[in-house]
């Protein structure tokens, strides 16, 4: 199979090109801009049909995307971080319109303090918006994810917009070998959009997304959207099956890597999960039965597939590249909720917050997270959540605070007990 080196951004653009999209409303933001630059160049040279329009903000961009999708054409757009949040009002609105299209988000930590590198608080802020969510771990998945997303969005039993997420820098600017599928095969998998009764047009005016007064009709429309999102689970499984038979790549709702006989499993999403995959291989070499479970599909949430993969597992190390202030990791919370009361569910879920703002997670940290989880299994009690943060990192912050002349009262800048220095043993 021919492969070519592509960044995650260019892979996303190829997804849109192969999907033969009709309309691309665009607005630039780091680290997403390469997607619209790539599409812009193709539209300019005529290599790609379709129309691209730059809008004055992400809010307008999402409005244009939803409005165009409501006319029955195939729409693609992309944003990141602050841009996604700026469009947040319209995310909820266009999903309520039941306008199917695909929006790529390139994850980037949110301000303040402002930063450029990836974490998942931006995409998780859109968790309850009615957009479905596909999360990618490598550049091939980005391309494949866009194609899958259109099938999912446009399915008559779903008809909802879909977000495809890739991590800034770690995927957006990272080149990896990617197989470009044959356009004819893509056309078989993803034929031109059949909009059914989606036909908003000036020549045949109708009213979409009307106002309702009173909670009862409102409840009907909102819950119907929820039921459609739930339908998307079965639709996704069917579509992923078709995809595999055509292109030979498995894209199940949940990636289960070496979980079959595992007693400890990492649970996380996004590109850092490939680091966990690597750690799993090294831990297996050291004779430890460790696996990785990674949801590709976060909305709808594949509860049954996750519970089935964790059946009989003793401990799960949940790594959240996000932080809900005052609660903790979102994945940890959701996993606990979905496993509660299920027979055979792991007794121990340990919680780690790592990778905020693109902060690295080292191999040794993965190994240590397994050690901590193993200890918790033995003790029958999970330790408090832990931020992956080292002595050296605090030392750097102290240096920056000194330069910034932050008035700290502490005179000895680094002071903690020796046993808190032992990684997982720091909770007593």
């Amino acid at each position: 199979m021919d492969q070519t080196l592509l960044t995650g951004n260019v892979a996303a653009a190829w997804g849109a090109r192969l999907a033969a999209v009709d309309y691309i409303p665009a607005f630039p933001i780091t680290p997403q801009t390469e997607i619209i630059e790539t599409l812009g160049a193709w539209v300019d040279t005529g290599e790609m049909p379709g129309r691209m329009v730059t809008l004055e903000s992400e809010h307008s961009m999402l409005t244009a995307a939803g409005a165009a999708a409501a006319t029955g054409v195939r729409v693609f757009s992309a944003t990141s971080s602050q841009g996604l949040l700026h469009a947040m009002e319209m995310l909820y609105t266009v999903s309520g319109w039941r306008a199917p299209f695909v929006l790529v988000n390139v994850s980037r930590g949110l301000s303040a303090p402002i930063t450029l590198e990836a974490d998942h608080n931006d995409i998780l802020a859109a968790r309850d918006s009615g957009f479905l969510q596909i999360h990618c771990a490598d550049c091939q998945e980005v391309l494949d994810g866009v194609l899958l997303a259109y099938r999912l969005a446009e399915d008559p039993g779903v008809r909802l917009p879909v977000l495809v997420n890739l991590d800034g820098f770690y995927l957006s600017f990272t080149r990896e070998p990617v197989s470009l599928p044959d356009p004819a095969a893509v056309a078989r998998f993803l034929p031109p959009f059949d909009p059914g009764n989606i036909r908003f047009a000036a020549s045949a005016p109708e009213s979409q997304a009307v106002a309702v007064l009173g909670g009862s009709p409102y409840s009907y429309f909102r819950y119907e959207t929820h039921l459609a999102a739930q339908n998307a689970l079965a639709v996704y499984d069917r579509v992923a099956g078709e995809f595999e038979s055509l292109f030979g790549r498995q894209r199940q709702a949940v990636e289960a890597y070496r979980t079959g006989d595992a007693d400890i499993v990492f649970y996380m999403m996004g590109s850092f999960a490939t680091k966990a995959r690597e750690a799993v291989d090294r831990l297996r070499e050291a004779g430890q039965k460790v696996g990785l479970l990674r949801p590709r599909l976060l909305r709808p949430f594949p509860t049954d597939a996750i519970a089935a993969a964790l059946d009989g597992v003793q401990g799960v190390a949940v790594i959240d590249q996000n932080l809900s202030m005052g609660q903790g990791g979102v994945l940890h919370t959701e996993l606990a909720a979905s496993l509660y009361g299920r027979p055979g569910a792991p007794a121990i879920l340990t919680s780690f917050i790592g990778g905020l703002g693109g902060r690295e997670i080292t191999p040794e940290e993965f190994y240590q997270m397994v050690a901590v989880t193993r200890e918790a299994v033995t003790a029958g009690k999970a330790p408090p959540p832990r931020l992956l943060y080292t002595e050296a990192e605090l030392r750097e912050i102290r240096k920056l605070q000194a330069v910034a002349q932050v008035e700290r009262e502490e005179t000895t800048p680094l002071r903690w007990s020796e046993d808190s220095n032992q990684g997982g043993a720091g909770h007593e």
Binding site: T174, P177, E278, T362, Q368, N421, G423, G424, G426
Partner: protein, 327 residues
């Protein structure tokens, strides 16, 4: 797997260097992952890129490791002023198994001693005609060419093809210049060909545990992201970024101070008694003043030559030196 880090400054072609090397390795049968890491996204600011290359075991085998390379097999430093910038992270994880290639006028032994490194330290050879080693358009390709030779698994033909592929959009003359430089660097490193060894992954047995700590609670008066020091950006000596130094010839200076001091994008031209004075601690050497000076009284000279001249003048005591040296 080969793990390679390339350090330089924005504008030197560091991202392009990783793409050339990545494509050359890909064409040589390796599975590849390459990526830039932009920091401040500004010309002259530190940037690095990474290349990982594993012997391909079959299609679809992407590399699982990603992000910063903590244990490099090869580190290329395109600009030796970065060795003194902690935020650039040039020295991260270098050990006795690493090869370090530095673009510098200093000798390898000098850097080895200065930095207390027991790694294999090599100096990037430069052709005699190169006056300014950090000359912007080609240093990235030069580094890629030298690195390709040090790896020992890339033939010159694959290197040339990679340059043609990556720079195709810039036209054949640009491709040709870069190819010539890269192949010259490749040839110049021939006695070190294959000196870089593939590293191994960090084993899960007998690993050093991370020194995790409990992050202490601190009042918002401390932990809010505020800078209390007023105007302390002056403490960052961005003049270190400079590879070309603008020098005012006061014999020809028209004292039309408003022009150069206004156009300087870094406000690094001060005016004293109607005379423009360049603040070399903060001048990044963009050469805008050289371009706008109406009487053509500002020259641009390679920074290393200017520094050598400074040193000479200090020795012989006849310095009237850089005007702002003690500012």
């Amino acid at each position: 797997m080969y793990r390679i880090r390339i350090h330089g400054r924005g504008g030197q072609g560091i991202k392009m260097a990783s793409r050339i090397l990545g494509t050359a390795l890909f064409r040589s049968g390796f599975t590849v992952q390459d990526a830039p890491k932009y920091g401040a996204e500004r010309r002259g600011a530190p940037i690095f890129s990474t290349v990982r290359a594993a012997r391909a075991t079959g299609p679809g085998q992407a590399i699982n490791e990603r992000g910063i390379i903590h244990r490099p097999d090869l580190v290329v430093v395109a600009d030796d002023t970065l060795l003194a910038v902690p935020a650039a992270g040039t020295l991260l994880g270098i050990d006795s198994g690493s090869v370090v290639l530095v673009n510098s006028h200093e000798k390898a032994a000098t850097w080895r001693e200065r930095l207390n490194l027991d790694a294999t330290l090599l100096i990037l050879p430069a052709g005699e005609e190169v006056e300014d080693r950090a000359e912007l358009p080609h240093v990235g390709a030069t580094c890629a060419g030298a690195a390709a030779c040090l790896l020992g698994v890339i033939e010159p033909e694959a290197l040339a093809a990679a340059i043609a592929e990556e720079l195709a959009g810039l036209g054949e003359p640009v491709v040709e210049k870069n190819r010539t430089r890269a192949l010259a660097a490749f040839t110049a490193m021939m006695d070190q060909r294959g000196v870089v060894r593939e590293g191994t992954a960090i084993a899960a047995e007998g690993f050093t545990p991370p020194s995790w700590i409990e992050l202490p609670f601190e009042d918002a008066s401390i932990s809010a992201p505020d800078i209390r020091a007023a105007a302390n950006s002056v403490q960052v000596r961005t003049g270190l970024w400079r590879t070309l130094r603008p020098v005012i010839d006061y014999d020809h200076c028209g004292k039309c101070w408003w022009v150069c001091s206004t156009f300087c994008p870094d406000s690094a031209i001060l005016v004293e008694n109607g005379l423009p004075v360049i603040d070399y601690d903060h001048c990044k050497g963009c050469m805008v003043c050289v371009g706008v000076c109406p009487p053509h009284a500002i020259a641009g000279i390679p920074e290393y030559l200017a520094q050598a001249q400074d040193a000479l003048e200090t020795e012989t005591g006849e310095s009237n030196g850089p005007d702002t040296a003690d500012r």
